[in-house]
């Protein structure tokens, strides 16, 4: 640090004898964490208000002394500022950084405080670790190991509280394990805006419970499980399925809406066990909707396509591709792409459209009710990707009436459909019977039942790719588990079709496809798949500002603000 610090709006505080620069008013727990010092805490959560009730983050705090009479700084005999330490410890989460503040996190007083707090917390905590789903990611376990006494002096009977309570359809509560941090209460009140949780009783009999007659059943209820520092709140779906220490974490994206929540996919040996949010302060903070956590079930759904089909008969990949190529070459092709496909797949689909002599491309729009939080109105995760790659130039319709008209008029004889159910998009049985369909899909549906050629593709958990969310933020997802036997990567299948149509070999992996994307798509110039940050890359979406996007306000996205900025 130079003698004359730059005026960057930061202040200097002293943490364990070392100067740390931070924002004025920053929370000391966060400041210490960013300086690499762990202050153990249970109730504090950076995205929630401070309640200061667990007392685990106790530290010693002092300010430079100031003479009351003169207002001059007091100094030690050697000239250094005299620090007036608070007589008792203070909670770090309730302390805001101020210039010259001194913090001790390693002193004997702090150590004794932590041991004491930890011992009190463990007094009534059951020894359930062998059967507790939180074991392995439990703050109480970690801090008991890191800061606890290591033994118990408690000989009396532990408190008895309700166990195995169903708080709602997805959350199970074990009150004995609860350490009363109130994170879940604050989350429900502040973030989910569904204030159903609260404490009853007093002292050590305090019990977390639901408001009578209500249930914790909002679409964000499982976030309380994520933030619960102990095993009090557990996911009913994940309950007793697998210990967390076996699970491999893979970064992924929630595909249910255009919000593009960042997620973590937890899998073991090719089987996904749960999905949790991944922190991205520009998109979803540390939250995600419950509905997105169940998407992994599509991987092993009974309707999952596990073989290639030619006219209903199982066929080899090569035969299916050859048959599909023959159909596409017969002419009069229309393409129905997908707002659920990745940017790379949409790009190759666009190339196919070009190779077919400018076949018409449509997407199917899906619009639902937005909840102003993390579920946006547009239920396609990647409509903007199709705009960016130039697959489409205007927003998709919910009903493909013009395609239906084309089929009726005999202008379209062959359809290439990527993962869309056209009956839901308004095409009748009679219209579908008039065309030959090449369907690339993961699940069996009305279209794959009618299709001449069915190509079995992969779900988002089984492939690499990227989406562009409502903020024009390009975010990538990574393969968590291998695909089932009999299915192939959509990108490879599309690239094979393209290669067969053009007679030129094409790139078929995300990395190689990205070299052509980076060269040919103006908005993605110079990017590569590897270069996409974990938190995503924001693209300049101003050229699409005129389009009537359906999304309303959500946690980190305000269309009005965007428009206002553009207008200004």
């Amino acid at each position: 640090m130079s003698d004359q610090p730059k005026d960057d709006g930061l202040i200097t505080i002293n943490l364990d004898g070392r100067d740390v620069r931070c924002r004025p008013g920053a929370n000391i727990v966060d400041v210490a964490a960013s300086a690499g010092v762990e202050i153990p805490h249970y109730c504090y959560h950076p995205k929630l208000t401070v309640s200061g009730n667990c007392r685990m983050c106790l530290v010693e705090m002092g300010m430079p002394g100031r003479d009351r009479a003169t207002g001059k700084p007091m100094t030690n005999p050697d000239g250094s500022p005299l620090i007036q330490w608070m007589p008792g410890p203070a909670i770090a989460c309730g302390t805001k950084a101020a210039p010259g503040m001194h913090i001790r996190t390693t002193s004997d007083v702090v150590k004794k405080c932590r041991e004491g707090v930890q011992e009190f917390l463990l007094i009534n905590h059951p020894l359930d670790c062998p059967i507790c789903d939180q074991a392995g990611e439990c703050r109480l376990q970690e801090f008991a190991t890191g800061y606890g006494k290591g033994y118990s002096r408690f000989e009396e009977q532990k408190n008895v509280k309700p166990k195995r309570t169903q708080l709602g359809p997805r959350v199970t509560l074990d009150d004995e394990r609860c350490i009363l941090c109130s994170r879940c209460i604050r989350f429900s009140r502040e973030i989910a805006k569904d204030d159903v949780l609260g404490f009853t009783e007093r002292g050590s009999y305090s019990t977390l419970t639901c408001y009578p007659g209500k249930k914790l059943e909002n679409n964000y209820s499982l976030n309380t499980v994520d933030i619960c520092p102990v095993g009090a709140l557990t996911s009913t779906d994940f309950r007793f399925k697998m210990r967390v220490w076996f699970l491999k974490q893979t970064p992924s994206i929630d595909t249910e809406t255009s919000t593009g929540c960042n997620t973590e996919v937890w899998s073991r040996e090719g089987k996904i066990y749960r999905i949790t949010p991944r922190q991205n302060d520009a998109v979803n903070d540390t939250w995600m909707p419950d509905s997105g956590r169940e998407l992994y079930k599509q991987v092993e759904a009974p309707t999952r396509l596990k073989s290639f089909l030619v006219r209903g008969q199982a066929a080899s990949t090569a035969d299916a591709i050859r048959e599909a190529t023959t159909l596409l070459k017969s002419g009069s092709v229309a393409i129905v792409g997908s707002g659920r496909a990745s940017v790379e797949e949409q790009w190759v689909l666009k190339k196919i459209a070009t190779a077919l002599g400018g076949a018409s491309v449509r997407l199917v729009s899906r619009v639902g009710q937005g909840d102003d939080l993390l579920v946006s109105a547009d239920r396609n995760p990647n409509v903007r990707g199709a705009l960016v790659t130039g697959l489409i130039s205007k927003l998709p319709e919910q009903k493909l009436t013009d395609l239906a008209a084309d089929i009726d008029a005999g202008r379209v004889k062959t359809l290439l459909v990527h993962g869309e159910d056209l009956t839901a998009a308004g095409l009748t049985e009679a219209q579908l019977a008039k065309v030959q369909i090449v369907a690339l899909a993961t699940q069996a549906d009305a279209i794959t039942a009618k299709a001449a050629v069915v190509l079995a593709g992969l779900t988002v958990f089984e492939k690499f790719g990227s989406f562009v969310n409502q903020q024009f933020r390009l975010q990538k997802f990574v393969r968590a588990v291998p695909g089932p036997d009999g299915a192939a990567d959509d990108l490879v299948l599309l690239a094979s079709l393209l290669a067969n149509l053009t007679g030129v070999s094409t790139a078929s992996t995300v990395d190689t496809v990205w070299t052509s994307i980076a060269a040919e798509v103006p908005l993605l110039k110079g990017l590569s798949f590897q270069a996409i940050e974990p938190t995503g890359v924001v693209l300049d979406g101003s050229s699409f500002a005129g389009l009537p996007f359906v999304e309303g306000k959500s946690l980190r996205y305000d269309p009005a603000a965007v428009t206002a900025v553009k207008a200004g």
């Binding site: 059951p126 670790c129 062998p130 059967i131 008895v160 009999y205 007793f240 210990r243």
Partner: protein
């Protein structure tokens, strides 16, 4: 660190040693004597070797004296097992079971005895004292599949542990008794 290295001189052979024949004669004398010594062979199926204390044989699962399976499928043994011989499918104890308060028990518990190295780490790590290495050392089957001991087989081999701790029973009693106020 300086390790002391002592170089031992190889003594030159004496004349009789170089002749070799006297040494052969000495060797023959020795083997002749050995021929008449008592034999150390344990004739296995009829004679059994003494099992020393702390012997690590086949890992098994045990019940407590009330017939409750002690394993709660915490999967620590599966995690610690160096050759990954253990495979557990966790499950929930149904609410109508007398042991419903334990909540969790293995649906299936498999130990692949072709992988097991008898290290005993599973027994050491078990927080419920549910997995014990027995003194069984002769594990013979007629197919590879049989070598994967399933839960039934493991409890057959393990039997009941005369345990007087009854941790979960105490917990159930406290639950029934309720709080003091």
């Amino acid at each position: 660190m300086a390790v002391g290295i002592k170089v031992l001189e190889r003594k030159p052979l004496t004349w009789s040693e170089r002749m070799y024949l006297p040494e052969i004669a000495a060797g023959l004398r020795r083997t002749w004597r050995l021929m008449w010594k008592p034999k150390v062979t344990i004739e296995y199926p009829e004679q059994r070797p003494p099992i020393p204390a702390g012997y690590r044989g086949a890992p098994t699962l045990v019940m407590d004296p009330n017939g409750r399976e002690k394993c709660v499928s915490c999967q620590l043994c599966e995690f610690v097992c160096p050759p990954k011989a253990i495979r557990i499918t966790p499950g929930e104890i149904p609410a109508d079971s007398p042991h419903a308060h334990v909540e969790k028990a293995p649906q299936e518990f498999e130990i692949d005895m072709l992988r097991c190295i008898y290290c005993g780490l599973c027994q050491e790590v078990c927080p419920e004292e549910a997995i014990w290495l027995q003194t069984t050392y002769s594990i013979t089957h007629t197919s590879r599949a049989d070598f994967v001991h399933n839960k039934k087989k493991l409890y057959e081999m393990g039997g009941t542990l005369p345990d007087e701790h009854f941790k979960w029973d105490k917990k159930l009693a406290a639950e029934k008794h309720g709080n003091a106020h």
